[in-house]
Symmetry: C2
Subunit: 295 residues, 2 copies
């Protein structure tokens, strides 16, 4: 790659971009709240020009990952079927302006007779592989909908989604458990979080284990300010349990610092090692895809 | 028992009562929406008198089950520890007026270092045992918080709670899946419900399987009007999976007709037999507890 690159992560609720030199070094970054839900119909081109027009000169390649490629985004970029690597993604870009501006497709895979999908996480994974110098790895990208991805020979072989962050928020704020919990989460209570993770790893289902938030409070066996951490441990522990045997495995965690620390802590309870991946994975992933393009 | 009985089920959102003759036959029934959440502080006696004062003569025994015995109710009736039978419950009544008006305590049990609780369901179970002529049985009481109870020699040995109905409502109305689902549930789509149950029985966790509601819709592999039934099957199937091996077992289902039919259908997919218990279980249970009292 000999051209300058504008790397853009256009998600549901935010829009971030970075200007990269041909070697992938970050020269400048920008962010706004103009996620795809905040862009009026037909307004994507205008938002792009306003945010990044001064960066996007005639010799520049702009690559956009995330929900901008969904049906509700700028241009639908059909999912790439797994197994898929950075070069497969590069071959399936949805070009807005041929040779200059393109949207990165997400990935899909088939599991037990149903599809699974990701958009944006594939770019972070390809960036992390490059940063880590790995071709085989297990990744978790924690969040509203966590993704677990198995990579072999540089290609995502299969992955699965867990509705962990969303389920936590529903139980935390909208279920009967909300009556027991203080209105603010407060700082993480480590021992309570660990107790939640360990119970979840032993339990058959969160449907059952979640009710212990209520009963432990009812019998005054947990202090109110521990319960949000305990529930967080239950939900993250359930996600780990659903992955099957993790003991002895190395899991690469791509996410913000607070979530990454929780996942590292939970993985340790499951006998696994959680390795934090830095925050630059998206920019490196887009640069990696750009490198796969013919000059 | 030679006295007339007023049997009352005082729950969170409703108040129901029945006048029984000394042999347990139902003479009359009444219902109102004055559940405990709709009773002002200190107002329980007045509501009781207004609803049932004309039934509650000096020779009458009034027994009240349900949330009226909770901390937010008329009088807290401490939980009876399992194993417990009707006579244990009778010995632990919380008397409002000695010999005349009493509140039935709920049950608690200890599972894996955490307590579990029920209030009201124990009375339905003791009634069902009497109606069925059984002393050993497995029960499920489906609902917002489903209860599974193992009865041996007429005593509830152990039980567990699953937050099934509440989790369905959260996913159905408040999660990202709500965007995919039509606003009304419509009639049950049997094949879609069965597919949900079967997927849940094979899956590791609802955290994962629930996301298939979104992806099957995204790939147009399920029709929108099937998705609520499919999600219902996923959540009920998760509850069944968490019970462990059910194949070959007989499970007695105590609940309203619509829920009972769904559970019978789901139990059949798990290789179990769901036996419906009639709606009179509460009245029969309160009569059964009354019989256990010294005259």
């Amino acid at each position: 790659m000999t051209r300058p690159i504008v790397a853009i992560d256009w998600g549901t609720s935010s829009l971030r971009g970075a200007r990269l030199d041909p070697q992938g070094a970050v020269l400048d970054e920008r962010a706004s709240l103009q996620g795809i839900l905040n862009v009026p119909p037909g307004g994507f081109d205008a938002v792009f020009q306003a945010q990044f027009g001064d960066w996007a000169g005639a010799d520049t390649l702009c690559l956009i990952s995330g929900m901008a490629g969904s049906r509700q985004g700028w241009r639908e970029a059909p999912y790439c079927q797994c197994p898929a690597g950075a070069s497969d993604i590069a071959a399936a870009l949805a070009w807005i302006t041929p040779g200059r501006i393109a949207i990165v497709p997400g990935l899909s895979c088939e599991r037990d007779g149903a599809p699974d999908v990701m958009r944006g996480e594939e770019t972070q994974i390809f960036g992390a592989l490059d940063m880590l110098g790995l071709t085989d790895a297990l990744f978790v990208l924690p969040g509203t909908h966590s993704k677990w991805a198995h990579v072999q020979a540089g290609r995502v072989e299969r992955f699965s989604t867990a509705m962990t962050g969303e389920t936590y928020a529903l139980l935390r704020h909208h279920s009967i458990l909300a009556r027991t919990l203080p209105s603010e989460d407060g700082p993480l209570h480590g021992a309570a979080f660990d107790a939640g993770v360990e119970r979840a790893l032993r339990s058959a289902s969160l449907l059952q284990s979640a009710f212990t938030v209520r009963t432990l409070a009812l019998f005054e066996r947990s202090a109110p300010d521990e319960l949000a951490s305990y529930l967080s441990g239950l939900v993250i522990g359930e996600e780990l349990r659903a992955q099957g045997a993790l003991a002895g495995q190395r899991v690469h965690v791509i996410g913000n610092d607070a979530l990454t620390q929780r996942y590292q802590r939970a993985l340790a309870r499951a006998g696994a090692e959680g390795v934090a991946v830095g925050a630059q994975a998206t920019w490196r992933g887009l640069w990696n895809i750009a490198r796969s393009l013919p000059e």
